[in-house]
């Protein structure tokens, strides 16, 4: 897989179709792969990597890259193509300047989950028949592959590439996923329990803004959180109200545009289940205004910039579910 990708990238660089390649390179440790841009075949040979840890969604980075000279080659997983499509729909990416190769998606692994099992000092991770063989400085450890799968891959919604120029590997299908189960579980709690749950989760927030910075739907050049007069500018919170305000506004600003790629929860250093806020909006939109998947196509209107004269009244929120 990785060799095929390297091979194809070098070919396209050599024949001048593209002048840069966007993929991933190994970080300081084997498991913290980061997005990277390669300009030559030598660089690709040396640093390019695509393994079980290449979680990052490259779509957002293409907003800036597509403004530079020349065409860039990007490897996109199925979930990344949704984000790409959504950005294309919002005219944030210049399609002509990006050459997309679709690659099969996950399940990808989350090193944080491995570490949370008490396995530290990791030097390498190998997948041997769906058992992870983890080399650490203290010796070899083993764990089942599926236990270390990242949260966003556990409830995968689609293995289908919605946009690509060519594919490596096969295209998959849209999957039946249970991604709303956890939202439903919360909805069935009483309002006091829900409040306690979110108070506990959101109070862990350190306002590092990683969720907002990684989100492929957050691409405003001037962000409300950059405005010192907004009362929620980038600073440490001094009251629990501020973290609620931040997370409500963050989720609301991407409502109807969030493709549910799960990057927000993945990057959260405090492991706050931020994707649940986004999924709540998606679930509401689906149930109240008809099924909608952001980024699935380029034509349908965003449900929040559209309306119908017989929409339900907001009182529906107060009538259903548990108080």
């Amino acid at each position: 897989m990785q060799e095929k990708m390297k091979q194809r990238a070098k070919e396209l660089l050599a024949d001048g179709t593209v002048n840069r390649v966007m993929g991933w390179k190994k970080g300081e440790f084997g498991y913290d792969t980061t997005p990277a841009v390669f300009r030559s075949a030598e660089e690709i040979d040396k640093y390019f990597v695509c393994d079980d840890f290449t979680n990052s969604n490259l779509s957002k980075l293409l907003v800036k890259e597509s403004k530079k000279d020349g065409v860039i080659l990007a490897f996109l997983k199925p979930c990344d193509t949704y984000s790409f499509n959504q950005l294309l729909k919002e005219h944030r990416i210049d399609r002509e300047k990006v050459y997309i190769i679709g690659i099969p998606g996950g399940p990808k692994l989350d090193a944080e989950i491995i570490k949370s099992k008490g396995i530290t000092g990791i030097t390498g991770v190998k997948n041997v028949n769906y058992t992870l063989v983890i080399d650490t400085i203290y010796g070899e450890e083993k764990m089942p592959f599926y236990e270390a799968v990242s949260v966003k891959c556990k409830s995968c919604k689609s293995k289908k590439h919605v946009i690509y120029d060519e594919l490596i590997g096969d295209d998959g299908d849209i999957l039946e996923s249970d991604r709303f189960d956890e939202v439903e579980k919360l909805e069935n709690m009483t309002s006091r329990e829900r409040f306690d749950f979110w108070q506990r989760e959101l109070s862990k927030c350190i306002r590092c803004n990683a969720c907002k910075n990684v989100c492929p739907a957050c691409t405003c050049e001037k962000c409300v959180f950059d405005n010192p007069k907004s009362g929620i500018e980038n600073k440490a919170v001094s009251d629990s109200f501020e973290e609620k305000l931040f997370h409500i506004i963050r989720a609301f600003h991407v409502a109807g545009r969030c493709t549910d790629c799960g990057e927000c929860s993945r990057v959260c250093p405090q492991n706050i289940p931020l994707h649940l806020l986004n999924r709540k909006f998606i679930k509401d939109i689906n149930s109240l205004y008809g099924e909608y998947q952001a980024g699935a196509d380029l034509d349908t209107k965003n449900p929040l910039t559209d309306y119908s004269t017989d929409d339900c009244e907001p009182s529906i929120v107060h009538e259903r579910g548990v108080e």
Binding site: R194, F252, E313
Partner: protein, 148 residues
Amino acid sequence: MQVNDSKNFEPVIAAFCCNWCSYAGADLSGTNRLSYPTNVKIIRVPCSCRVNPMFILRAFQRGADGVIICGCHPGDCHYTSGNYFTRRRITLLYSMLDFLGIERNRTRLEWVSAAEGAKFASVMEQFTEDVRKLGPNRRLEDLRCRKK
């Protein structure tokens, strides 16, 4: 410090009223000599669609115990379609506040036309009563803004 503040609790209600319908409706209820609770603080907005979700959260932060948005009836918007967008947006926001465990009776959206002075008074009466029952807003308050 008051020992039992729920007894003499007077809620603060922030009412966002659209300039063309509900604000005129409030005016009409006044000229008709109808009374509505003094707890209601009216904030005039050009259209109910002007109400940014941040306004609502900010109102709670600065001491409101309930927030009500009043606009023209669907189909009667001065700007043709503003209140249709409001309806979707506010439905989602209220649903999110409910999801986060904020009491659902603290938020409301009502359509009040310029001819409905009596409706304005009764809606405010009813809403103030509902919020009074809930007591002070504690789940979405900013301690720095709490009054003594």
